[in-house]
Amino acid sequence: MKWVTWEQVGVDRMACAWLITKYLDPEAEFLFVPAGQKPLPEGAEPFDIPGVRLSHHRGHCTFYTMLRVYDLRDPVLERMARVVDEADTVQDVMLEPAASGLDVLCRGIRRISPDDWVALERGRLLYDALYAQLQAEATEGGSEAVGRGSEQSFDVSL
C-alpha cells in the first residue's frame, strides 16, 4: 500500500519507514509532500504529520504511536521507541545516550542523500543496527536491559 509523509525525513520518519517495511508492509510505497501541504494525496496512509492518526500523541513520537496502533509487542521495539522519543521530542527525562547521536546521523543522512527515498533506504541500516544492538543488550540482561512494559499505554482515538 501507499504511505505518505512530509519530505525532508528525519529521525522519526526514518524510524517509521523502517518499521513499516519490516513489520507491516514489505511492499510499502512511500510518497512525500512538502511540509504543510494540503490536501494529502488520496489512498495513502499519512504518518508523522501533525493531526493525523499516526503521529505524535501525548508527547510521544510517531514511532511509539505506531507500536500502539499496530499492537507490535516487542521489548526491543519499545526501547527503540524510547530512543526515538528522546531524539525527536522535548523530554524532561533523558535515559538514552544514543538518542541525540541518532538524530544527528539521520539529519546527516538526509543531507548526503539526493532525495527522501534514498535517505529512507540508507536509514534502514542505522535502524537495523540499533535494533541488533539493543537486542543484544537485552539478551545479556545488563543494567541497560529493556523495561518490562512499564511504559503506560494509551488509546489512540481520532
Binding site: Q8, A35, P50, G51, S55, H56, H57, R58, G59, T89, V90, D92, S100
Partner: protein, 149 residues
Amino acid sequence: MEQSQETSWVLLVYKIPREPTSSRALVWRKLKRLGALLLHDAVWVLPATPWTREQFQWLAVEIGELEGEAYLWESHLLLNGLAEALAQQFQARVDAAYQEILSELEQEEADLVVLSRKYQQVRAQDYFHSALGTHVRERLMRARGGFAS
C-alpha cells in the same frame, strides 16, 4: 551573533483548562525546554527553523489533546530594529545561562558531568550562536585536565 532582517518567527498562543494543573505544567515545561520567549504574557515566540516549526506544531497538537486550544503562526516583524531587539532577548537569556556555568566552573570540585550536561541543554536553545557558548565549551574541555590537546 547571526541575525538578519529576514528572520522569521513562529508564534504560539494557547489556552488550556486550569485543571489538571499537571497539563499546564507539562506544556509550560516544554516551552521552557525549547527556549521559547513569552512576550508580554501573551505570545510564545521562537526563531523559525525547520526544527522549531515542527516542535511547535507537535506542541499545538498536544495542547489540543489536553483539551486546550492553540494558534500557531509564522511571521516577520514589520518594524525596523525589533527583530534585532528580539534576537538580543534570546541571546541575553542564553548568555546568562552560559555565565552561570562559567561561575560554577570557578568553584573548587566543580561537577563536570553536571556542567557539561547543562552546557548541552543551553546550547540546544542557543538559536543565535552566542560566542560565549564557544568559550564555555573550551573551558569545559580544559577543565577536564590531563592532556592538553
